[in-house]
Symmetry: none
C-alpha cells in the first residue's frame, strides 16, 4: 500500500486543553523541535490572541528553523456579521507568521442555532470568507469542520454544505472532526465514504477518545481514504484526550504499511513519548500501548518461558521497533537469566560470569524498590557500580552543611547555606546565598570545590526535578530528586532519594559533581584523591 499520510500534531494546542496539561512558551518550543526532528508534518502551536503564552510561542518559533514540519496557528472563522479584514482573531492568525493555519467552523445546526444563535447561511458565509481571506494571504489553510460527524448525522446536507463552502474558497485540507468523541468506527467509515463522493479536497480526521475509540476511529477514517490525521503525543487533550499518535503511527506504519514518518524514526517513538510526558511533568502511563514501560512486560510464568523461546508467542511487534524494551517482571520464576538479562541491558562492564553481578543487581533492585530510578540517572548508576567494585573515592569529603531559610513579615525569604568540606585533608568552609535552599547549597558547594578543582566552573545544573513518591503522607513523604547537569551540551543525570528534600538534593548534587570531576580527571585521578 505505502500510501503517505500527513501527520498533524496538536499536543501544543488541543493537548493543552486536557486537565493538568500546561506548557510554557519555551516548553512548547522544545516539544516542537522534537516533533520536527521526529518527522511530524504539521505542528499546531496554539491559538494566537487567546492568551499571551501562545503568541509568545509563535514569536519564538519564528526565530527557529524547522527542518521538516510546518508550524500551524489555530483559530476560528471570523465572527457573525464581521468581515475577516476586521476580525481580530483572523488578524492574529496572520500576525502569528506561520506558513499554515487551521481554522474551525461549525458543521452542526445545534451549534449554529443554539450556541452561536446565528443564521445558518451566515455560518456558511463566515467559513467561505475566512478561508478565502487566509488563502489571499498565502496561507496553507487546514479547515477543521468541528462536530462534523454529529452535524452530518443530524443533517447531512447542511454539514456537507459547510465543507463545500470551505472547499470552494480554496481550503487545502478538509478535516472531519469528532469533537465530542461520541462517534463509532462503523459511522466514521460510512460517513467518510459518503463525503468522498461530494468533495475533491484531501480529507483529514480529528478524533477524541470519549468512547475509548479515538485510535480505531482514526484508523477507520484513514482506511476509508483520509490522508491527513490529527492527534497528540500520549493522547493528551480535552476531557478524555485526543487520538494518540503514539498508537496510531505504529498501527499504520508497522502493521498496515502506510508511510507516516521516515522508516528509521518509528524506533524513536518511546523516547518521544517519555520526553513529552517529562516536559509536561505528568507520570507516564505505564500501560500505554507500544511506548509504556509495561507494554512489553511479561509477568505470567507461562508467558515468560514462551517469550524466552520465541518472543512472537506473546509480542505482536518487537519492542525495538518502537524503541521500547522487553521486561521480565520479578517473580519467583525469574532467576539467573533475569539477572543476566538486566545487567546486559545496563551495559555494566563486568565479566558475564562475575560473582559481583548478583550483588550489584540485588543492590539495584533494593534501591529501585526504595524509590531510586536509575533508568533516568545513568551517572548515579555508574558511580554506584564503581563503588561496589571498590574502585572509587569521592573527590571531596563533606564535613557538614547548614541551611537557613528566614522569612520576615516584609516579604520573600532569605536563604543562606554554609558548607565545610575537605580535599586531601585541607578544609574549605564557604557560605552562599541562593533563591532557595538547594540553590544556596549548590552555590556554596561550587565555591568550596572551586579552590581544588577550578574546572568545576565549566559545568552547570540544567534541570532539577522533584517527585513525591509516597502519596498520602503529605509533607512527610519520601521524595526523589533528579538533577540534569551539563558541560558543553553533554548532559548527565543523577538521583537522590530521602524523606528530606535537602538530603535527596545533596545526594544528587554530590553525585553530579563527582561524576563530572571523574570524567575531567580520568587520566590523572589516582582513585585516592581525598
Amino acid at each position: 500500500m505505502n500510501q503517505t499520510i500527513h501527520l498533524f500534531d496538536t499536543t501544543l494546542r488541543d493537548g493543552t486543553q486536557g486537565e493538568k496539561v500546561a506548557f510554557s512558551a519555551k516548553d512548547k518550543l522544545r516539544i516542537a523541535q522534537r516533533l520536527d526532528a521526529f518527522g511530524i508534518d504539521y505542528i499546531e502551536g496554539g491559538w494566537p490572541g487567546s492568551n499571551p503564552k501562545d503568541m509568545q510561542f509563535f514569536e519564538l518559533a519564528r526565530d527557529h528553523t524547522f527542518d521538516h514540519a510546518k508550524v500551524v496557528a489555530f483559530g476560528s472563522t471570523c465572527r457573525a456579521n464581521n468581515s475577516p479584514e476586521e476580525d481580530h482573531n483572523i488578524q492574529m492568525l496572520i500576525d502569528a507568521g506561520t506558513p499554515a493555519v487551521s481554522i474551525f467552523g461549525k458543521s452542526w445546526l445545534l451549534h449554529v442555532e443554539e450556541a452561536l444563535k446565528i443564521d445558518t447561511m451566515e455560518n456558511i458565509r463566515m467559513i467561505h470568507d475566512s478561508v478565502r481571506y487566509l488563502k489571499e494571504h498565502d496561507k496553507e489553510v487546514i479547515y477543521d469542520a468541528e462536530h462534523f460527524f454529529d452535524g452530518y448525522k443530524a443533517n447531512p446536507e447542511y454539514a456537507l454544505s459547510t465543507i463545500k463552502s470551505a472547499e470552494s474558497a480554496g481550503a487545502d485540507t478538509l478535516v472531519l472532526c469528532d469533537t465530542n468523541g461520541g462517534t463509532f468506527p462503523n459511522e466514521i467509515r460510512k460517513i467518510v465514504n459518503e463525503v468522498k463522493e461530494h468533495v475533491d479536497t484531501p480529507l483529514g480526521i480529528h478524533a477524541h477518545n470519549d468512547c475509548e475509540l479515538a485510535v480505531a476511529n482514526t484508523l477507520a477514517a484513514v482506511n476509508s481514504g483520509c490522508v491527513h490525521l490529527q492527534g497528540t503525543v500520549n493522547g493528551y487533550g480535552e476531557r478524555c484526550g485526543n487520538a494518540n499518535l503514539c498508537s496510531i503511527i505504529p498501527n499504520l506504519q508497522l502493521k498496515q504499511q502506510y508511510q507516516c514518518v521516515p522508516e528509521e524514526k518509528v524506533s524513536e517513538l518511546s523516547s518521544l513519548s517519555r520526553f513529552v510526558s517529562e516536559v509536561a511533568n505528568l507520570n507516564p502511563n505505564h500501560r500505554q500501548p507500544y511506548v509504556g514501560q509495561s507494554a512489553f512486560a511479561h509477568k505470567g510464568g507461562i508467558h515468560v518461558s514462551a517469550v524466552m523461546k520465541n518472543a512472537d508467542t506473546y509480542e505482536h511487534v518487537t519492542p525495538e521497533s518502537v524503541g521500547n524494551r522487553r521486561r521480565v517482571l520479578v517473580s519467583d520464576l525469574s532467576g539467573k537469566s533475569n539477572i543476566r538479562y538486566k545487567s546486559d541491558q545496563l551495559g555494566i562492564d563486568l565479566d558475564k560470569e562475575s560473582e559481583e553481578i548478583p550483588a550489584i543487581v540485588d543492590k539495584l533492585k533494593q534501591m529501585e524498590n526504595e524509590g531510586y530510578q536509575f533508568e533516568a540517572a545513568e551517572a548515579s548508576l555508574e558511580l554506584l557500580v564503581q563503588k561496589m567494585k571498590k574502585q572509587w573515592e569521592d573527590y571531596f569529603k563533606l564535613e557538614g552543611f547548614r541551611i537557613i531559610v528566614e522569612k520576615n513579615i516584609s516579604g520573600d525569604s532569605r536563604t543562606e547555606a554554609t558548607i565545610r568540606l575537605t580535599v586531601n585533608g585541607q578544609m574549605e568552609h564557604c557560605a552562599a546565598e541562593g533563591s532557595g535552599p538547594v540553590h544556596a547549597l549548590d552555590k556554596a558547594l561550587r565555591k568550596a570545590v572551586h579552590r581544588f578543582y577550578p574546572g568545576i566552573a565549566d559545568m552547570h545544573l540544567q534541570d532539577y526535578k522533584v517527585r513525591v513518591l509516597d502519596h498520602k503522607d503529605g509533607t512527610d513523604a519520601k521524595v526523589r530528586v533528579l538533577i540534569d547537569s551539563v558541560k558543553n551540551d553533554e548532559p548527565w543525570t543523577t538521583v537522590g532519594v530521602s524523606r528530606n528534600i535537602i538530603d535527596a538534593s545533596w545526594e544528587a548534587l554530590s553525585d553530579s559533581f563527582n561524576y563530572y570531576l571523574a570524567n575531567q580527571h580520568e587520566q590523572t585521578h589516582n582513585k585516592k584523591a581525598i
Copy 2:
C-alpha cells in the same frame, strides 16, 4: 436491538497479570461482591493451584452467596500425554467448587510446535478430553481459544479444528482470544463472521489493548455476533491491559442499545471504577472515558460557554448516565463563562454582570502565566476571588519563620522550624522538628495555630507535589507546589509559586489552613478575625 450480552469479568485473574496490580484474597472477595451487585454475569477469580492466594479466594467465595454472578475458576487444558483424571491442574479446577470454569487451549500452531513442542493432534485431544471431563463434572465450561486470531491468520483450518473439538466435547461458550492484542477491528469482523459459519456454540471475545484497540475489537466482535465478552474494570491486565469494561458497557448499552447490565446499574459505573482502583491502590486515570474525573471536564472558554447553553454541544452522553459529573476548569484558556460557572459552583456570590469578573479573569491569566495552576487548586482560587472582592482577612498573620537544616558528617540532616504569628494581636512563637523543611514548617504552623483554633487538629495534609517550572535554570528555577489537604474524606487543594521552594510551600500551606478555617467558622467568622 436489545440483544443480551453476557459479561465476563477477569479483573481478578487477567487483571492481576498487569504490572502493579495485586489483590489479597479478601480484596478479591470485596471486588467480587461489588461486581455481583453491579450485574456482572461471570466473575473469574483466579487460577486455583497456581498460587495459594487464588485457592484461598475460592474458599472464601464458597461461603458467600452471590445474587446474580457465577464465580469462575480458570486453568489450562490437561497436559500432553496426560488424562484429565490424572491432571493436577484440572483436579484443582474441580476442587475450586465453582459453578463454571474457563479453560484455555492452544489455537496457534506456533505455540503448539514451538512453545509446547507437542504433536498437533495431541493438542486437539487435550482440548476435547479436558472439556468433556469438566462437563461430566457438571461444570459450565467456557473454552478460551488462546491466540485464536493469530492462529486463524496463520492456519484457519487448524484454528477452527481446535474450537470444533471443544464444541464437540460440549463446551458452553467458545471464546475467541486476541491474546497478544495485535489484531485490528476489520480482521476481527472478518474472522468472527467466518467462524460463525462453522460452529453453533455461542461465541465470546477476549481482547487485549496492545494496539489501543481492545474496546473497538470487542465492539466489532459483538456487532458481528459474539454474545459473551470478557474484560476488566479500568482495563487492568497483562502488558497494556485487557478490554476495558468501563468503556464497553456504556458504549454497548447507552449507545448501541444492547442489554449488558440492569438499566439502573449503568449509573453506578464511575463508582465501581473508583472502588476497584482504590482497592488496587492505583491512582485512577483521570482521562479514562466515561468514568475519569476529566471525562466531562471543560477547559476551553468556548466549550464552557456552549455547555452552559446546552450540554449536548460538547458532551456525547450525560455525566449522570454513568454516575460521573460535569466540571469546569479554570486556566489561562478560560473566558468569563468559566469564572461565572466556577463561582456559582463554589458558592461565591458574584453578580453575573459583575464588573469584577474581567479583573478576576485577567488576574488569573497573569498568575497562570507566572506558573500558578488553579484548575487543580480550587481552594486557592476561591481565596483569590474572595480577596479580590475585598471580603477576606487571613485567620492568622505571619510575623516570620526560620528553618534550619543541618547535616553533619555522621549522617542524615536535622531540620528545625520556628514560626511567629499573631491572631487578634496575640503572638504565638513555636518550634518543631520535621523530616524535611516543609514538614517542619507544617508542624510548627500547626502548633502555633492550634492555640487559637483547636479544630485544626482534624485536618491533615495528604499529598505534596512539586514541579519545577523553568527548566534550564537548574536549582535556581521557579517551582510550583500543590498541597492536597483533607478532613473526613473531604479534600481540597492549594497552590504556591516561587523561586524559593520554601516560599511556594508556605503560600500553599497558608492557603490550605485558611481555607479550612474559613469553612469551619463560616457562621462565626466576621471577616475581621485578625
